[in-house]
């Protein structure tokens, strides 16, 4: 009896592996699987998530959208502070901590990004970058429906972040907190709308385009903007 599932599993693995051989992208060994997940994402996102985000953009006053974006951005800054310390970047930690304090106190709990207006640049460090800073490679690319592109390393960072969520310390009431998470999710999706229209126009194959853009971007963030290795001429 146990043979059949085993065979099915072997067959499935075979299909996956042969698919890989055909595409041969070393960053994306699970490409056939990821493409399937991407297709699922397209359906769920197109039918549910995107319309909600579009409605949010169309019918919510801009000033509210801005406030929501800044509010969650303030929590991103808290995460940056953590990761600045984890990477031993003390000057950046000071910068980002200053942002959190200024925006939390003078920016009405983060609704207004006063710090940026004052010229204190927003940092951008997360757990995935911290792993990268300490030499951990990205690992295989993974496309997660609804959430989007990530890698084993960065996805692990996101899980760490989910557990370390600063918002959960500020808002302890679970139903209320879930509403905040939902709003934050819609805000994030809304912010991706413009980029998405760009990808639609630019890409021959959206999947491939998004993958390379994501991987390039993450490598760059880990390097903190230092120049990439030379590109080869044909």
């Amino acid at each position: 009896m146990t043979r059949i599932p085993l065979r099915v599993a072997t067959l499935a693995a075979g299909v996956l592996l042969s698919g890989c051989a055909a595409v041969a992208s070393k960053d994306d060994p699970f490409e056939p699987f990821n493409r399937a997940m991407y297709d699922v994402h397209q359906v769920v996102d197109g039918k549910v998530v995107k319309p909600i985000a579009q409605a949010y953009v169309d019918y919510t006053p801009k000033i509210i959208q801005r406030g929501v974006m800044n509010f969650f951005g303030n929590f991103d800054d808290v995460v940056s502070v953590f990761n600045d310390f984890l990477q031993g970047k003390l000057d950046k930690a000071g910068n980002d901590m200053g942002r959190v304090m200024i925006n939390s106190f003078f920016g009405i709990g983060g609704l207004i990004d006063i710090a940026s207006d004052a010229g204190i640049e927003k940092g951008n460090e997360d757990f995935g970058q911290t792993f990268g800073f300490w030499g951990i490679p990205q690992g295989p690319y993974v496309f997660v429906p609804v959430l989007g592109p990530t890698t084993v390393r960065d996805g692990t960072g996101l899980v760490v972040r989910a557990y370390a969520s600063p918002l959960s310390y500020v808002i302890t009431d679970v139903p209320v907190r879930n509403i905040f998470y939902a709003v934050g999710f819609v805000d994030a999706r809304a912010q991706a709308l413009q980029a998405e229209s760009f990808v639609d126009q630019a890409a021959l194959d959206r999947y491939t385009f998004i993958r390379r853009a994501y991987l390039q971007r993450r490598e760059y963030l880990v390097r903190d903007g230092q120049p990439a290795p030379e590109k080869e001429e044909p």
């Binding site: 801005r66 927003k122 994030a188 990808v199 390379r212």
Partner: protein
């Protein structure tokens, strides 16, 4: 959590791509301009048009294409861009195929940017000082777009001297190189259908309707 699991990947991709749009915005020209001066002059010129031209503001595609073709395109070395994006297959392509690839890629970029153009009215660009010696024939010009509420986005232009003029052959937005990004795309098409397959894919893409502009 929201940012945790949901938001981050989307945002991460968004920043560079959104900015990609403006970026092409920077390569422009008087023969004598140093590469950084050139980038600054052309960027400011285009930004000025984006801010003041009523047709551009209204999203008139023809007018926007016109601005791109007349102000930006002359400062790009599309042939080199295309050869870099196509990679090894470029050397096996016939001159005719190379020309087709370059024309189609140029059209694709132009269409892409005209679609994203109008969204960048309130941008402020910071130009980083460039130090190269007079004999240099390659340079990377660094700029930064400052946005309220978000981390600044770096836009770098890889430039090379062609004759007496500097021309851009790659734009790197927030770490995402345009040429590198297309290399995977093009490689995939070449693998599937050879150089002609890639020409066909680009032509088909360019023949399709542009997506509706985003509000």
């Amino acid at each position: 959590m929201r940012c945790a699991l949901s938001a981050v990947p989307l945002r991460v991709v968004r920043a560079p791509l959104v900015a990609l749009a403006l970026l092409l915005g920077a390569a422009g020209v008087h023969a004598q301009d140093a590469p950084d001066a050139l980038v600054k002059r052309v960027s400011e010129e285009v930004l000025q048009i984006v801010k003041t031209d009523p047709k551009v503001q209204a999203g008139d595609r023809d007018r926007i294409r016109d601005v791109i073709d007349s102000k930006l395109a002359p400062h790009f070395d599309f042939e080199r861009m295309t050869s870099l994006a196509v990679g090894r297959a470029w050397r096996t392509a016939t001159p005719e195929q190379q020309k087709q690839l370059t024309d189609q890629f140029r059209t694709l970029l132009s269409r892409t940017y005209s679609n994203a153009f109008v969204q960048y009215r309130d941008q402020q660009i910071v130009y980083k000082p460039l130090r190269i010696d007079a004999a240099a024939s390659e340079a990377t010009v660094r700029t930064e777009i400052v946005r309220s509420g978000g981390a600044p986005v770096q836009i770098d232009y890889s430039m090379a001297k062609k004759g007496s003029e500097w021309k851009a052959y790659d734009v790197i937005v927030g770490g995402v190189s345009l040429v590198t990004n297309y290399r995977d795309e093009f490689g995939q098409q070449v693998q599937a259908g050879g150089v002609d397959g890639l020409v066909k894919a680009l032509t088909a893409k360019n023949a399709g309707p542009p997506p509706p502009p985003v509000k």
